[in-house]
Every structure is written in structure tokens, then in C-alpha cells.
Subunit: 274 residues, 2 copies
């Protein structure tokens, strides 16, 4: 391939995720966002609000030196929000009150107090906690919540810590973080395609798809198993990352065409997914 | 605590998860199921269909010796379903055709062919692949799909490999695996409670909840951040694991009562979640 995909890892942090009390949708959203920019997420981990567990995983991940390492969750005002304490330990960058972050938090509470959503704008210790960042970090304004995001360069890896509330996480990624991500990732291109095969038997489709996969190793091809039954069909998903979007699109279309021809020869109808 | 919670790790395997093309709901479902039996999931990982990546993670997990290690995904007939190949490498148990598993696969395809859902019941190589299990494994019948689940004892750890299709995964856990899980986990008890605080300011609630948490360290207490706004409230979630369900229930109710009294003193109304 002409371009190397930037590699990312994602940590989703919160006891509620491992209790199954809350479904983690942040990881899938980030995976899709980063894939769309041509990045490749190679691993994602769900972790409890436990400094030691987070620190150990962070050290492991930083040792593998991904280009991007995201965390979601654990930035809030409560004592059990411990992500940045773990980041401080794993990176050796101690937590310090960051003046710019404190101003972001203060501004948020001034606005909330003015609107009557909170009783006052006083910077209590729980509120100040959200402005304590690892030394050297850059705060990312949170357009819809109180806790700023955090960007911290660590050698070859950019560490990005985001809130766990999905609306806040997305608002930071699509807002203040977007120019940074586009600059780092936006040079690569991504394309995908979905086909529906009029066949519910994955074991019959498998050897046909494997043949195409061997001829197009740079395209990711996957059929999705569904429960067998009358009218049940298989979806075939194709995607590719390349130096630019046109190149990725051409790769996917060539492989998609080959699949349609191969399945037609086997008597299986294929249509683009609606 | 009188009883030690059994510790579990979960691996969800599939490129589609890391592309964000499919949302992993299996992990949250398993977390909730295991928590409900008194188990504790300490870590979950999303991994691609890559033998080397899965093998390395499996070796790391087996080294930490959890009581239970689950995988979901990668058991199907296609070449890119590679979970068992990675298990074989990580455990040193080579893949072998398992007569009982082969009979399960054969029976499934006989039924599908008889119903006209597949063309024939022939045991083609992709179908036979689903019966190749690590040496020493026990196949778990799949009530709604073709690929059997796999149970493999590895020293202190029981490794359980399940299909990625949610209906198949759940059917195996709630069917053939249920007696095993209840025997290992069912001695502990779990209880939970949800309260709604008439307060949208987590930074105000935080010090009050921290005080209760210090007095009830065995109860897990978490407030959930929501976007601020008129009428917005915070949910407080409590749960506990103990030697039996009554004990867990008593712990949660004592802490819940303390929260209601503390918040009432601060002028914040609290009601049970509907």
C-alpha cells in the first residue's frame, strides 16, 4: 500500500461498562470515525475506574507505540473518575492545575449558574479537579459539558483523553480535535461497500469469498452470519484504506465486481445493500 | 467480604468491531449476566481477526489467571474466523476434529437441508472446520447456529469460546453453559438499586456520595453524568456482590438509605428510579 494507516488504540473506562449497566457505544463511534479518516484501530479495551488497572494498560499500550491512544470516561468531578491520575502515573507527568483548563471549567459553571442550572459558579474542589491535567497537556474545550478533553504528546504517541458522556465525547472529537485528527489522518482515504447475497449458507459462500480475498489482499472482505431461515441472506462488507479516497474506492469496486461475477457463476444473486 | 467474586475477562473478536461497522453488544450482555451471578468482569478487549494479536492477548490473560476467560466471535466456517487457531497456539492444544462436535455440525446441516435452507448436508471443508477444536476441549451445542461453543480448562482458568452472532452466543450461555456457570458462580449473590436525584450538578453531588462510599466501601456507587439543562437529573446506581443475594440486598439498601438521608439534608429530593 502506498500509505501506512495510522494505528490507534482505544480505552473505554468505567465500572458501569464492566457491570453491563451501560453499553459502550463510544468505542464503536470512534472506530468508525477514525476508519473513515483512513486510520486503523487495532485494539480496544474496557477497563474499570481503577488507577492501577488503567496505569498498567496505558504502559502496555505506550510500549507498543500506537500513533493515537484514546481514552473515554473518568474525567468528571467525582472521586471515582481516575483516568488522569492513571495517565499521570503511566507518563510521569504529574497532575497540575492548568490555568486555561480552569478558565474553561469556570466559564462553563458561570454559564450554568446564569441559566439557573446549578446553584452557583463557585470553583469547589470537585469542579477544580476537572482542571488538573498531566504536566504538558493541552486542554480541549468541551462544547457541551464541564470536563475539558486532554491532549498529551508522548514520544511517537498522541494520547487523547475524552469524557465518557457520548455527546461530550463526540462534540470534542468533531469540534476542537477535528483539525488535529484531519492533519494527522486526513491524508489517507477510506472506502466501503455492502452487498447482499441471496444465500443464507455462509459455508457455501466462504470458499468463493476466500478466492477473491486472495486476489485482493488489501481489501477487507467479510460476510456476516445471520440465523438461517427462509429469506435469510448474507451481507458482504468490503472496505479499503489507501493513499487517497479515489484509490480506496477503486480497490473496493474492483473486488466488489469480482464477487458479483463469482457468485453469479455459482448461481447466487447479489445486489448492492439498500 | 465473605466470598471472593470469581474474576472474568472477555475478548470480543472481529475486524468489523474495530471498523465500527458492528457495535459489540455481546460484551455488555455477558458482563451483565456474569455480574448477576456474582462474578466480576475486570477487563474486556476488542480484537481483530488476527491470530497473532489474539494469541498474544490470550497469553497475557492466561498469565493473569482469571477464573473465566470468554471469547466471542471467530468460530464460523470462513477462513477469517481464526479464534480457535489462536487458542491452539496460546494453549499448546493443537486443533483436531472432534467427533462429537462434528456430529453437532452434521446434525445442524441435516436439519437445514431437510428444511430447504441449504442445498445439501454435505460436510464440506468450511463446515468441517467448525468441528476442529483444541485438543481436550468440550464442545457446547449451539441451539440456533452451526458452530459449537468450546470449553477448555487451562489450569486455574476455564476458557469459553462462543460465536459472535448474539442470538447464538446467548443461546449457548443460557442453555448448555448455564449449569456450569451456576455451579462455579452461583454461590455468590448480587443486588443493585437505582435512585434519581433531583439535581443536575454532579460536582455538588460528588462530596455527598464520596462520604457514603467511604462508609460502605463494598458497595459500588456511581452517579451518571447527563447534559445539564432544565429538569435534567442524575441517576445514582448502587450494586454489591456478597456471599448470598440477601446479604448483597441488605448492603445496597443500607447504602441507598444513607444516600437518601444525606441528600435530603442537603435539600436534594431523591426517588427510586422508575
Amino acid at each position: 500500500m502506498a500509505s501506512r494507516s495510522l494505528v490507534a488504540e482505544i480505552f473505554a473506562i468505567g465500572n458501569e461498562l464492566l457491570l453491563g449497566e451501560v453499553l459502550d457505544t463510544n468505542t464503536a463511534w470512534l472506530c468508525r470515525y477514525l476508519s473513515g479518516l483512513g486510520g486503523r484501530v487495532r485494539r480496544a479495551v474496557l477497563l474499570p475506574d481503577d488507577v492501577e488497572a488503567i496505569r498498567a494498560e496505558l504502559e502496555g499500550a505506550l510500549g507498543r507505540a500506537p500513533d493515537l491512544l484514546f481514552t473515554t470516561g473518568g474525567l468528571g468531578p467525582t472521586e471515582d473518575d481516575r483516568t488522569l491520575a492513571a495517565v499521570a502515573q503511566a507518563t510521569g507527568c504529574p497532575l497540575e492545575e492548568h490555568p486555561q483548563a480552569l478558565e474553561m471549567v469556570a466559564e462553563r459553571y458561570r454559564a450554568l449558574a446564569a441559566a439557573g442550572f446549578v446553584a452557583d459558579a463557585e470553583l469547589t474542589p470537585p469542579r477544580r479537579k476537572m482542571a488538573r491535567l498531566p504536566r504538558g497537556a493541552i486542554p480541549l474545550p468541551n462544547p457541551v459539558g464541564a470536563a475539558p478533553g486532554v491532549l498529551l504528546e508522548q514520544g511517537p504517541t498522541t494520547l487523547v483523553c475524552l469524557p465518557g458522556v457520548p455527546e461530550e465525547m463526540k462534540a470534542i472529537v468533531q469540534g476542537p480535535l477535528a483539525p488535529f485528527l484531519q492533519a494527522r489522518l486526513g491524508r489517507a482515504g477510506f472506502a466501503e461497500m455492502r452487498l447482499i447475497a441471496d444465500c443464507g449458507d455462509e459455508s457455501r459462500l466462504a470458499p468463493l469469498l476466500e478466492e477473491i480475498q486472495r486476489r485482493a489482499p488489501q481489501v477487507y472482505i467479510k460476510s456476516r452470519a445471520r440465523a438461517f431461515g427462509p429469506g435469510v441472506r448474507l451481507q458482504i462488507y468490503l472496505s479499503a484504506t489507501a493513499a487517497n479516497a479515489q484509490e480506496a474506492r477503486a480497490m473496493v469496486e474492483t473486488a466488489g465486481q469480482a464477487i458479483m461475477e463469482s457468485l453469479a457463476r455459482a448461481g447466487i444473486a447479489v445486489t448492492p445493500a439498500p
